[in-house]
């Protein structure tokens, strides 16, 4: 008690020093509490985001993989993580490990679709109208196509004005000439003479130059969709339906769908609405101003889609809404797009009421069949047609591109796209072989042979399914089987198939596949790239990881196990970065505190030499003097550490009430939602107090040692 009394009174006696040191300890303790609370909350939310969306608690993949599995690697998928050859065995083995709830097969890759080429769609419609001899429809669509080609010609003309003609490549010159021809009166006057030749010209020469023929790249996970949906708790279908059990199909992530598939003007309207709702204003916010500018500058995105039937409707709507009698749609749209903080609400409603219904709002609609183009594991291009059943989201991660960039495809289509020979392909291949009389190639060289240079010695050309799909690259519409039937013939170099009725095969193949229901053994019995392991609640991940690794080894599965943190790549490591930043800040604060505590305590020791000497003279042992200094440090640490922890607790409580906004999509993912609500635990306070105490005691070591060196004689010296 006397030691504490001495300590308290000493602190009071040297209050300036106490305040400086205490202030640093206060700050350090507060930072520890706030930092740890944030980190633990982020850790939990990250775990929720990552485990609950795509990774599961653990991931397994080939032991002999060249690269490390990285689920959130971004769009570049250069990882060579090998294959899991027999997933059925893996599932059976690992689901028998205690604590394992489910093993979900996976394969992550990127693919591309052509999206949003309205000209393509309109040409398809025109072809259908011509085929069906629907003259009225043909007239309307023909006028629209002619208008679009005219606008395209104007744009290309403008582009050629901007460039020095001498720098223009022959290819570009030819393209401009083609488009001009397509927009000319002479071309359209002769259209009726041979509409299909004219259409072919437009499809092959003009449409590829279409204004909004975007190549949309996105990331997808091939998986057992049914089991994925029932095991990943954050998964939720938003639009459309889940892919029927056992069938092929594709689910867009809602965010990808909105960001990349939706009409750009509409998307910008949505983004403006969301940002205004967050409290930003058009008057001040640069992003909002930029979106407004883009909507005004790129009104062609709207006019391009309006035909002779829809344009008057939109014009009339705008005239009424804007109370403007101008007849030029461009003038009306320019005025409509000139939004401000006051009129946006009304304009937003008006856009969706009077304009959007006449636009192709999504370039791929739910129910469409789209052609995904990707690269096989050997690096060759491949395509797969797949029906889009709907969109989904990972709950509370709606706005994070980290999670929102992940789309889902059934495992069978994935295997096709990734170049694994599925039973379907084998079957179809056999049929084509039978029809063409082509011998099967060696399994090992199949793909290499298929895509080898024409000069190489090619044994056989086995990839009929790929050929069928390759015909259709770029077609994204709801009339796919018909489109397949109408598609151009196979690419050059595939002469062996010249006698095969590819269109009929493709159509049948497609129809067969979309309706086919695969049994669980078919889905499981094949190659996957990795698998997610979900654990029952309350199971210790580290223990489970060891058990799973042991099971892999015991059953010679040739797999390695990693936890969700490792599997998520940089994102999973992000927490360590925050830890490092926090540790760095704390190190600076505590190092400064240590230096100050040390210096001031050394000074105090020197000032108190007489007092210490006297205490020694009256019988205080060295250990007592040391204790005296440590108790002083302890009192300081506990007093200011507690105050700092309490303050830190208040800060955490404040943020818990208000939430910390995620300032970009990475943080939405890390926060498992748009805001983080940090929580504090008793452990954080204990850690803060321990850290502060250790730092203080450590910095008191030297002064305390110095004090123990004071001799009783030093109390007497002044007396001589």
């Amino acid at each position: 008690m006397i030691l504490i009394r001495i300590a308290l009174r000493n602190l009071r006696g040297h209050w300036v020093k106490g305040l400086i040191v205490g202030g640093l300890l206060f700050l350090g303790a507060a930072l520890v509490v706030v930092g740890l609370s944030l980190l633990s909350t982020i850790d939990r939310s990250m775990a929720k985001s990552i485990v609950g969306s795509v990774s599961g608690n653990l991931q397994v993949y080939a032991k002999d993989a060249k690269d490390k599995l990285t689920l959130f690697a971004g769009m570049t998928d250069g990882t060579e993580i090998g294959h899991v050859e027999d997933f059925a065995k893996v599932r059976q083995t690992l689901e028998a490990v205690p604590g394992v709830k489910a093993v979900i097969p996976m394969g992550t890759d990127v693919a591309m679709v052509y999206g949003g080429n309205v000209l393509d769609v309109k040409l398809d419609q025109l072809r259908a109208a011509e085929k069906g001899k629907d003259k009225d429809k043909s007239k309307v669509v023909r006028a629209h196509v002619r208008k679009m080609v005219g606008l395209l010609a104007k744009d290309l003309d403008r582009m050629s004005d901007l460039r020095a003609v001498k720098n223009m490549s022959d290819e570009t010159k030819q393209a401009i000439a083609d488009v001009k021809q397509g927009g000319s009166d002479a071309f359209w006057a002769s259209f009726d003479k041979d509409p299909f030749t004219a259409l072919e010209f437009l499809e092959n020469k003009v449409a590829p130059l279409g204004l909004n023929a975007d190549m949309i790249w996105f990331r997808y996970i091939g998986t057992d969709l049914d089991r994925f949906a029932s095991n990943f708790e954050l998964f939720e279908v938003v639009d459309g339906t889940q892919v029927p059990k056992g069938q092929r199909g594709f689910l867009f992530n809602k965010l990808t769908y909105e960001e990349t598939i939706k009409h750009r003007t509409a998307r910008r309207f949505d983004k403006i609405r969301d940002r205004l709702a967050e409290g930003f204003t058009l008057k001040r916010d640069e992003d909002l101003q930029q979106w407004r500018k883009l909507n005004k500058d790129q009104m062609r995105e709207i006019t391009y889609q309006l035909d002779d039937r829809t344009e008057p409707m939109v014009r009339q709507f705008l005239q009424k809404h804007l109370d403007n009698s101008a007849s030029a749609i461009e003038v009306l749209l320019a005025q409509f797009m000139d939004i401000n903080d006051d009129n946006f609400g009304a304009r937003y409603t008006a856009f969706y009421a009077g304009i959007a219904p006449h636009l192709m709002l999504y370039s791929v609609k739910i129910g469409d069949v789209m052609t995904m183009k990707g690269f096989t594991s050997a690096g060759y291009p491949t395509t797969v047609n797949v029906k889009v059943y709907g969109t989904f989201r990972f709950k509370s991660l709606d706005k994070s591109m980290m999670a929102g960039g992940m789309n889902l495809i059934d495992l069978m289509s994935y295997r096709d796209l990734y170049g694994f020979l599925t039973a379907d392909r084998k079957e179809e291949l056999a049929k084509l072989q039978a029809q063409s009389g082509v011998k099967p190639p060696s399994h090992d060289r199949a793909e290499a042979d298929l895509f080898a240079d024409a000069d190489d010695e090619v044994e056989e050309l086995p990839r009929a399914a790929t050929v069928v799909a390759a015909n259709e690259v770029g077609k994204t519409n709801s009339e796919w089987p018909a489109a397949v039937a109408a598609a151009p013939a196979v690419e050059s170099g595939f002469d062996e198939f010249a006698k095969v009725d590819m269109k009929a095969s493709a159509k049948k193949y497609g129809e067969d596949l979309f309706g086919r229901v695969y049994a669980q053994p078919d889905i499981d019995g094949g190659v996957v790239r990795n698998a997610a392991i979900l654990l029952h609640n309350g199971i210790d991940e580290r223990q489970a990881k060891l058990a799973v690794q042991k099971a892999c080894n015991d059953h010679k599965l040739g797999l390695q196990v990693m936890d969700w943190r490792e599997a998520s790549g940089m994102i999973g490591q992000f927490l360590f970065v925050i830890y490092a930043v926090l540790a760095g800040s704390l190190f600076i604060i505590f190092f400064t505190a240590m230096v100050i505590i040390n210096n001031s305590t050394v000074l105090a020791t020197m000032e108190r030499t007489r007092e210490i000497g006297a205490l020694r003279a009256i019988g205080a042992q060295r250990s007592y003097i040391r204790k005296m200094f440590f108790v002083e440090g302890l009192v300081l640490a506990l007093l200011f550490g507690s105050l700092g922890s309490a303050f830190g607790g208040l800060v955490v409580a404040f943020f818990n009430a208000k939430g910390i906004a995620a300032f970009n999509d990475v943080f939405v993912f890390l926060f498992a939602g748009p805001r983080l609500y940090p929580t504090m635990s008793f452990t954080h306070v204990v850690v803060a107090l321990v850290v502060v105490t250790v730092v203080t005691l450590f910095s008191t070591l030297y002064p305390a040692w110095l004090a123990t060196r004071v001799t009783p004689l030093q109390a007497m010296q002044d007396a001589e």
Partner: protein
């Protein structure tokens, strides 16, 4: 000369051929030379001498706060030269009481705490016993009402009395006092000396370093030091007065 002691023949302090040198850089300054001395338990002894004669050095050696360069210093039967720091500290705590010339009270503790401190170090008594013993002493020394005053709030005499109380509270066998009356007026000085004599009568050995005639006049024995040597083992008060006068005249 008044003798208020009943000294026994057993020496409680014994110095045999003690030298004490101080090193000042490369120069060795002898502070005590060939000092041999024996003080019996219960003596009331004064070490007198002019400034620089070695009084405090001698007191430090006897008080176990310094070690002789040569010779033996035996306190309460223990040769201080062979004792380790811990044992010397223990000896100081158990057998010695110090009254410093400049008090050396702990500034942040009040009078009561300062006096209680050695008892806490000893750890022998209960809180109630400690309190009682401290308060008895403070009462005896007439500073009971200042028990909760800190040294900074006390006069020189009051502080001196706190220092004396602290030295006496453990009931040590030997009390060493360095100029205990230097800061006291005549009335207070006499009152304190009276108290000390009372304790001495009960067996406590007192050893003073002083040239205050008031103390000298009460001493049972006066040891006179001159230039680090004992000039007289049993000087008279007159010798001391002469010495003081000579020092004053110089």
């Amino acid at each position: 000369m008044t003798t208020a002691y009943a000294a026994t023949e057993t020496p409680i302090v014994k110095l045999v051929n003690v030298d004490k040198d101080y090193e000042l850089g490369t120069v060795i300054v002898p502070a005590l030379r060939d000092v041999s001395l024996s003080i019996a338990a219960g003596e009331f002894t004064v070490i007198a001498g002019p400034s620089g004669s070695g009084k405090t050095t001698l007191l430090n050696l006897i008080g176990c706060v310094d070690i002789a360069t040569r010779g033996s210093v035996i306190i309460d039967g223990s040769d201080t030269k062979v004792l380790k720091d811990k044992q010397l500290t223990e000896l100081r705590l158990r057998s010695l009481g110090f009254i410093f010339q400049s008090f050396n009270l702990v500034g942040v503790l009040d009078a009561f705490d300062n006096v209680e401190f050695p008892l806490l170090l000893q750890g022998k008594l209960s809180k109630a016993d400690r309190r009682e013993r401290v308060m008895v002493l403070l009462r005896q020394l007439g500073i009971e009402q200042y028990s909760h005053h800190r040294p900074g709030e006390l006069s020189g005499g009051q502080r001196q009395r706190v220092a004396i109380a602290r030295a006496l509270v453990t009931e040590p066998r030997i009390v060493l006092a360095d100029e205990p009356t230097a800061n006291l007026d005549s009335k207070t000085g006499n009152s304190i000396l009276d108290s000390m004599q009372e304790l001495n009568a009960r067996g406590t050995t007192f050893l003073f370093s002083t040239h205050d005639p008031r103390v000298v006049s009460r001493a049972g024995r006066v040891i006179r030091l001159v230039d680090g040597e004992i000039a007289d083992h049993n000087a008279t008060a007159e010798d001391v007065a002469q010495l003081a006068a000579a020092a004053h005249a110089a």
